[in-house]
């Protein structure tokens, strides 16, 4: 069991306590730390490589990529997506069992020609495209527990029969092809939410037989957050245990956790190290 942490230093507030908050985790023998961006040191195998623009264009239109460049956030968005892509390749090639990606911008509101909610590139979609092309991976599941609807992922995956995309959010439920929207009440208990997650895993994902699972994890649905649906911080840890265990049962543990919504620094500092402990084996 090897866990990869994909991290780049960010200017924002919510991850200010990292990497210091990884105390006790980085010293584990089965944890590997990949980071970026150093201008001063020679390149090494632990550096994140930016995604070539040609790869971005396989998912996002050149006009949209140009618009992202004009925002001033391009480099941050690029390295966020690079973390997911690198994590997915290392997990599917057997170098890692699972991975956690610290994104600065990401990623489920980014579609083929649009972006929103400060999600500029859809890193799961980019990684899935590359896994198909480079490693011949055939079936993928994306579980989205950010509090908001993943409109970008919905659009990008709606015609992909090899991708099962499940979004748990307060939007009205529905589905198209392999896209499933599971409606969450505006206020939900931890137990109620976890039941919905388990229902999604065992009723939808299990039969689909994915070779890898991407988890778009947002903590914005936590009490006091901007997408508050009533979840406690502990609910995320229970969710992490469930999803990791499920991945063990279904796809040899191949799981990539992508940090999505959530703005509170204290919650990030509490939750992320604990989720990493779960991924690496508590």
């Amino acid at each position: 069991m090897c866990t990869g942490i994909f991290f780049h230093y960010q200017q924002g507030e919510r991850l200010k306590d990292f990497p210091q908050a990884l105390d006790g985790i980085l010293e584990k023998n089965n944890v590997f730390f990949y980071d970026a961006l150093y201008l001063s040191k020679p390149k090494s195998s632990t550096d994140l490589e930016p995604i070539p623009v040609e790869t971005l264009h396989k998912i996002h239109s050149p006009v949209m990529v140009g618009r992202v460049k004009a925002t001033g956030n391009y480099e941050g968005a690029l390295y966020s997506a690079a973390g997911t892509l690198s994590a997915a390749i290392k997990v599917c090639s057997g170098e890692l069992s699972n991975a956690f990606v610290f994104t600065g911008f990401g990623d489920h509101h980014a579609g083929s020609t649009f972006y929103g909610g400060e999600c500029y590139f859809n890193s799961a979609a980019i990684a899935i495209h590359e896994l198909r092309e480079k490693l011949g991976v055939k079936r993928f599941a994306v579980i989205d527990t950010d509090a908001h609807h993943g409109n970008g992922s919905w659009e990008l995956f709606q015609d992909n029969l090899d991708v099962l995309y499940i979004c748990l959010c307060p939007e009205p439920s529905g589905g198209k092809a392999q896209n499933v929207n599971i409606q969450v009440p505006p206020e939900v208990t931890d137990q109620g939410y976890l039941s919905l997650v388990k229902e999604a895993l065992y009723n939808c994902v299990k039969g689909f037989l994915p070779e890898i699972i991407f988890w778009n994890w947002g903590y914005d649905g936590t009490n006091g957050e901007y997408g508050d649906i009533g979840l406690s911080p502990e609910s995320h840890l229970q969710m992490a245990r469930e999803i990791r265990q499920f991945a063990e049962e279904i796809c040899n543990g191949r799981l990539v956790v992508i940090l999505c919504g959530g703005s509170r620094r204290d919650l990030a500092t509490f939750l992320i190290p604990r989720i990493l402990e779960i991924l690496a084996g508590e």
Partner: protein, 46 residues
């Protein structure tokens, strides 16, 4: 004092190390203190 999660490198031999447990001392290689590598922080959503 070493810093958790930071990378250090040796100018003499090219060795690069990652600090996985911070301590009071500074890492040394080739009889010299290693240089702390400063990462470039990137924009993010908050």
């Amino acid at each position: 004092m070493s810093q958790l999660g930071k990378r250090y490198s040796c100018k003499e031999c090219g060795t690069e190390i990652l600090c996985t447990k911070a301590g009071e001392g500074n890492p040394v290689c080739c009889d010299k203190e290693l240089e702390l590598q400063e990462p470039k922080p990137l924009p993010s959503s908050d």
